[in-house]
Each structure stands twice: as structure tokens, then as C-alpha cells.
């Protein structure tokens, strides 16, 4: 057993608490290329570089002192030619009878140290890459925030544009496009739930004369004023729009024939008695149609138009319902 320890596949040393080598095996001698006699009774630090000595003093001795053992300490010793031999050291303090000291076992780190170096440089690369990644991420986040801000601006702009695209710029009422879409929706509702509604088409009487006599500016003023009358006469659920020129339309949800005639009559009176600030009587002719089975957007518009035509034919400033024709 003792014989075999001499050539066992690890370097063995025993040192005093002061670091003087008192026992060693052949494997250790071969590891660093010294003879048994050259190493016996010398200080272990005599085969160490100054940095390894410092490591020994700041780590090995205090740790041993504190715990009685040191595990997996990495260090290197100088071989006979002065070359570094990287080693892994386990050490343990012992006391037997009157003898005390430190048993040290060394393993060569030949290939392992290459792996370690590779791992260390890979770790450094990874850390560097991580730093760069984080920097890039920060930049990306900044960009993202900017995009978000722009998107909000864009959405606001979009809402504004949408509003503009369905609004008549002169009167501020909804335009024809908007009205036709709502009309189609109400037809669909009627087909689905049988929800009734009626349609008014109104036309300013003698509007050409207003323009010719007072000029287009006054003409525009009359149109704006009429829009105000329409807005104050109808509820918000009612859909009021300028259809084109001096022609306006109103959709009255849930209104049957009687109700729609009442509302149309109310409007006609309000227009007649409104203050127009020009020396000309302003009146409207109104045609009304109520949605019936089989009607489409085209037919109900035609029906209301026919009723309007009748109002005009019969002397203007009056209300006609299609069903009364």
C-alpha cells in the first residue's frame, strides 16, 4: 500500500503548518520535474511564482486555518525549467499524536485547463454579447415608444379625417355618403326586426331666386341657418344630412306614417316662422315615405322624391306623404 502510494496517479505532499515539505511521493516529483532530494525539506513556496504565493497567503492558509481543509484550489507550480504546471489542489490539516501538518493532493490540469480557458472566453463573449443585446434592446424600446406616440397621433388624425369625410363642410351636417350608409343599416334592421322608419326629403323653395337676388354668400347663410333649424327640430337619434345643393334628407327611426307627417309638418312651420334676416319668405317643400316590405334604399328614396315632387306641384311650402298620393 505504501509502495503503491509512491506511484499512485496523484501527486502527494505533506507540509508543516509553515509550508515546509516533509513527505512527498514520486508522482509529485515527476509532475514538476524535481528529484525527491531537491524538494524534501524545502518550502513549498520555493516552487511558486509570486502571484501563486499571494494566492496561497490570501486564500490557502486562512481557509485551512478556518476550515481545516481546502478543496479544488487551482494554482500552478514552477517546474525544473521554470515552466508553469497548472494543478488542482485538495488539502487537509491533520494531527496524529504529536505530529501535525497538512496533507496535500495534486492533480494535473493539462486538458482541463484548456476547457476552462475556453469556457472563460466563451463566458466573456457571452457577457459582451449580452451587453450589446441589452443596448440594442434599449434602443429598440426607444424606437417602439416613438412609434407608439406616432401611432396615437395617426389615430387622432384618422378620426379627424373620418369625421371630415362624412361631414358637409358648409353646414356641418352629415353628407350624402354617410346618410346612404345609415339608410342601408336601417333597411337591414327593418328586414330583421321589422323596425319601422320614415324618410323626409326637403327642398328649399325658390332657392335659385335667393342666390340670384342676394348673392351666393347670403345663399350659403340660408343653407347654414336651415341646418340649424334641422338640428334643433330633430333628436340626435334622427339622421339629418345635406343631400346636395338645397336638398336635405332626414331619417326618422321608429316613426310610422302619422308620426313622420307630424314631424315634417312641425319642420315646415318652424322654417316658415324662422327669422332669416332677408327680405324674402323662406319655405320648404317636403316629401315623406315610410319604409314598407319590399322597399330598397333606391325605392324608398324614389317614393320620398315622388312625394316631394307632389308638394312642389301643389304649390310648395307643404308636406306630402307618398301613401297619400
Amino acid at each position: 500500500m505504501r509502495e503503491r502510494l509512491n506511484t499512485a496517479p496523484f501527486g502527494y505532499l505533506c507540509i508543516t503548518n509553515q509550508g515546509v515539505i516533509t513527505e512527498l511521493n514520486e508522482t509529485f516529483c515527476n509532475m514538476i520535474g524535481y528529484t525527491f532530494e531537491e524538494l524534501l525539506d524545502t518550502h513549498i513556496e520555493s516552487v511558486m511564482s509570486v502571484s501563486n504565493k499571494l494566492l496561497f497567503h490570501t486564500y490557502f492558509y486562512p481557509f485551512l486555518h478556518l476550515n481545516g481543509h481546502v478543496e479544488e484550489m487551482y494554482l500552478s507550480l514552477k517546474d525544473h525549467e521554470g515552466k508553469d504546471v497548472p494543478l488542482l489542489l485538495n488539502a487537509k490539516y491533520f494531527k496524529q499524536d504529536d505530529v501535525e501538518g497538512v496533507d496535500c493532493v495534486f492533480m494535473k490540469m493539462g486538458k482541463r485547463i484548456d476547457y476552462e480557458q475556453q469556457i472563460r472566453s466563451a463566458k466573456k463573449h457571452a457577457e459582451e454579447a449580452l451587453r450589446e443585446k441589452n443596448l440594442a434592446l434599449d434602443k429598440l424600446e426607444l424606437l417602439h415608444n416613438e412609434i407608439e406616440k406616432k401611432q396615437i397621433q395617426l389615430m387622432k388624425l384618422n378620426t379627424k379625417l373620418e369625421k371630415l369625410s362624412v361631414t358637409d363642410s358648409l353646414t356641418g351636417l352629415k353628407n350624402r355618403r354617410f346618410f346612404m350608409e345609415r339608410l342601408k343599416e336601417h333597411i337591414a334592421l327593418f328586414q330583421k326586426n321589422n323596425m319601422p322608419f320614415s324618410l323626409l326629403i326637403l327642398d328649399l323653395d325658390f332657392f335659385k331666386k335667393v342666390n340670384d337676388t342676394w348673392g351666393h354668400l347670403i345663399g350659403d347663410h340660408v343653407l347654414i341657418k336651415l341646418a340649424e333649424v334641422l338640428n334643433s327640430t330633430f333628436k340626435v337619434e334622427d339622421i339629418v344630412a345635406r343631400f346636395g345643393g338645397e336638398e336635405f334628407v332626414v331619417l326618422l327611426p321608429e316613426a310610422n306614417k302619422e308620426r313622420s307627417k307630424e314631424k315634417a309638418e312641425e319642420l315646415r312651420r318652424t322654417v316658415q316662422s324662422a327669422e332669416w334676416r332677408i327680405d324674402q319668405i323662406i319655405t320648404v317643400s317636403i316629401g315623406v315615405a315610410t319604409m314598407q316590405n319590399g322597399d330598397s334604399d333606391m325605392t324608398i328614396m324614389e317614393n320620398a322624391d315622388l312625394a316631394l315632387y307632389a308638394s312642389k306641384e301643389n304649390g310648395r311650402n307643404r308636406v306630402t306623404h307618398k301613401d297619400d298620393l
Binding site: T58, P62, N67, M73
Partner: protein
Amino acid sequence: MTNVLARNNVKVLGEGEKTIIFGHGFGCSQSMWRLMVPFFESKFRVVLFDYVGSGKSDLTAYDPEKYNSLYGYAQDLIEIIEELELNNVIFVGHSVSSMIGMLASIKHPDYFESLIMIGPSPRYLNDEAYIGGFEVSDVTELLDLMEMNFEGWASFMSLLAMKNPEKPMLAQELEKSFTAVDAEITRQFAKVTFLSDHREDLAHSTVPTLIIQCSDDSVVPIEVGEFLHSHLKNSTFRLMEAKGHYPHLSHHEETVRLINEYLLLP
């Protein structure tokens, strides 16, 4: 306002008119003085502390810019003295702490009565005729060794900091707190220490100084002690019988005796 006493984990022990402050060296903490303190507690007020980045100091106070030179550490020492309203301090510094104490004393000579340097060096690197003991390649090797052994080193320092080896759970907790940041701090402290050069400052030091050096110091060559002695006014040089670089741990009685003789204590 930073809490200086918490930042540097300052401990005040003992009785006495005079104050003795112990400053630990690189890779250590105030617990390195545990064998020495009992000899001084009865005669002095003893102040122990950890440098920021070491022991149980406040790691969040670590500023890589401030501690990129020994002046940052010297400033902290001055702040500890001011916070405790001390004067005529005897400062005992091991290794790099000797220079930190000297830099503080140059700025405020009136704070110090004497400096006791154990294993000091104004420059660890060789420089033409000057023998510091280290080549640049040695410092690189040391940084590598530290990195390769950091796990073990960290657990060792955490054990020391806890001083509770019988409670390994606590030490494990603390060990966890030794993260990559600490490796970076220890690495910078090593760099700052071993690449420092304060030979020019020696001429500005006026406080009486005792230089204690181990015979056959494993880190600092004997020439460095002699260099210091010849460049420091009012200095006394004592070569110890002890070998190594940590006489306050390995031969604390001889270390205490030399300090007592210098301070003319019985």
C-alpha cells in the same frame, strides 16, 4: 448623507483614551485582526472596519470610479475618523492598507499620531532599479488565479465575514450574495493595489511610522522595506523573525510585541 459607519461596517470596541484603528489588506476583511484585538482592547479604543467591497461593507456604495485608486479608500478612512470625532489616532495597516493610511495622513496629519505598517509596499511592480517583487505578467497571472478560484475564495471570504463557521447555512446565504459584481470588485481592488505607485508620496508623509516586515516575506521583497525606511521621515524599521506576509495571523504575538515596543507600552 451616506452613513459612513454602516458603509464601512465600522466596529468600535475596548476602553481607553487613545484610539487604534486597524485596516485590513487586499482579499481580507476586519476579521483578519481577530487574534490581535484582544491584546489592545484593554488599553485602547479599538476601531475595526471593512473597506467598501470587502467583508460586510455596503456593496451598493461601491463606485468603480471612486475606488479606481487608493485615494478613494483613503477618503473613506478620513470620513470614519471624522464621523467618530477622533484625533491622535494610531493606525495599523496591513499590506495595501499601509499606503491607504499614509495617503490619509498626508491629507490630515493632525488626525494621526503614528502609522504602523505591516508588510507595506509603495509599488508592487519592478521598475528599472526598483525591486517591487512583481512583473506585469505576475499581476495578470494573479487576476487569472483569482478568477479561477473565485468560487472558493468567495466562500472563504463569506465565512470570514460571518465569523460563524458553525452556522454554514448563514454563510451559504452570504455566499449567494457574492455575485459576479463582487468578482468584479475584488478584481478591481487587486488591480488598483498591485498597479499602484505611491513612491512620490513618501516624501510628503510626516507622521512617525513603524515599518514591520517579515523576514522572507513571500509577497514583498526585503528591498521594499528598506526603500520605505530610507524615504519615510521619522520611520523605524523592524524585521520580524516571522516569515510570510500575514504575521498578524501566523505570528500574532511577535507582531503585538513589536507594536507594543514601538508605542512604549509595557
